[in-house]
């Protein structure tokens, strides 16, 4: 009886995660392909998907590793690129209280897509939510890791001309910025980000650009807090 109940939750989680299977499969494949095209061994790509497990950051990291970025810069990139995840956790504080031994993994695996599914699916009332959440998180990471491995192995075995494939990262950020506009409906934060970026590009060399732009933008954000809040 118990194993039957367990498979019910696994099946429900699988059914609800099929869109993520497509998305993570394809994006994970691209990440693996990009990583090996920049000279990283396939197992580094897979290791990153296992222990970092954050799409945009992993794409960004490929270029930063190639440029031999310093540890402080890598840490800041990880924190600032993914700062939105803080807000996911804030809204799940109560829900994860009852997750017991699965809680550390649920927190580790809290990606945009997993969060979106957890907070919007309404499974059958007979389903145990705690177990369902865990399977959902685990299945999603499995898709990401398998996609990465497939892309990295494909890139290792074939001689595919990948010149320009790193534009996928720019395209990803353009799409995410457009999605943010739908939520925020104001040009001010975008203009502030653009201004800080251009200033940083003119003031410092490219390997210091990211940290400088973030610092300038944060300073501007709090300096003009009143004005930004009002629109």
């Amino acid at each position: 009886m118990k194993s039957q109940a367990r498979s019910r939750e696994l099946f429900a989680a699988f059914r609800d995660s099929v869109p993520v299977l497509m998305g993570y499969g394809v994006l994970g494949f691209s990440f693996g392909l990009l990583a090996v095209s920049q000279g990283l061994a396939w197992y580094w790509a897979v290791l990153m998907s296992l222990v970092i497990y954050a799409g945009a950051l992993q794409f960004l990291a490929v270029g930063m590793l190639q440029a031999k970025a310093g540890m402080l810069e890598l840490f800041a990139a990880a924190v600032f690129v993914n700062i939105r995840q803080v807000f996911y956790g804030l809204s799940l504080l109560k829900r994860f209280k009852k997750s017991g031994r699965r809680k550390p993994y649920l927190i580790f695996a809290l990606t945009d897509e997993t969060y979106a599914l957890m907070t919007s699916t309404r499974p059958d009332p007979r389903i145990k939510r705690r177990r369902y959440d865990f399977y959902l998180a685990l299945l999603n990471q499995t898709y990401w890791v398998l996609g990465t491995a497939a892309g990295a192995l494909f890139g290792t075995m074939t001689d595919f001309d990948t010149r320009g494939i790193d534009f996928a990262l720019t395209a990803l950020f353009v799409v995410l910025a457009m999605e943010q506009y739908k939520i925020r409906r104001s040009w001010t934060p975008f203009l502030l980000g653009a201004g800080a970026s251009i200033a940083a590009m003119l003031l410092v060399s490219m390997d210091r650009m990211l940290l400088t732009a973030i610092a300038l933008a944060l300073a501007g954000m709090f300096l003009f807090k009143k004005r930004i809040e009002s629109d």
């Binding site: 000279g39 990880a78 720019t170 990803l172 950020f173 910025a177």
Partner: protein, 109 residues
């Protein structure tokens, strides 16, 4: 091909994993007992669009805008990505269409 130092890669991956985990775990570490401060709402609304704009510029860091073709291929590919996304609203399609278009552009222009 670039040579990577395994020790550097191991350290870098660990630092990236730690930084990322910190953003996911911070609420559970700091706010499981007390209420989060109100400034969090302000940051939540305004920081994501800001950092995404910076990242678009950052990924264009290797482009030389002072010499032909003056970054036109990148701008055209960004435009194509944006139009595709405004039209269909499917993020996978927009990213793949935009990237394929860019890969084509740098081979013909």
């Amino acid at each position: 091909m670039i040579e990577y130092d395994s020790l550097y890669l191991a350290e870098a991956v660990a630092v990236l994993a730690l930084g990322n985990l910190l953003t996911r775990a911070a609420p559970f570490l700091f706010f499981s007992r007390r209420k989060p401060p109100s400034v969090i709402g302000f940051v939540e609304r305004n920081f994501p669009p800001l950092i995404l704009t910076i990242l678009i510029f950052y990924t264009l860091g290797g482009v030389d805008f002072t010499e032909a073709p003056y970054g036109t291929r990148e701008l055209l590919a960004i435009l194509a990505t944006g139009l595709l996304h405004a039209w269909r609203g499917n993020y996978l399609l927009s990213i793949f269409g935009g990237t394929a278009f860019y890969m084509l552009l740098i081979r013909i222009l």
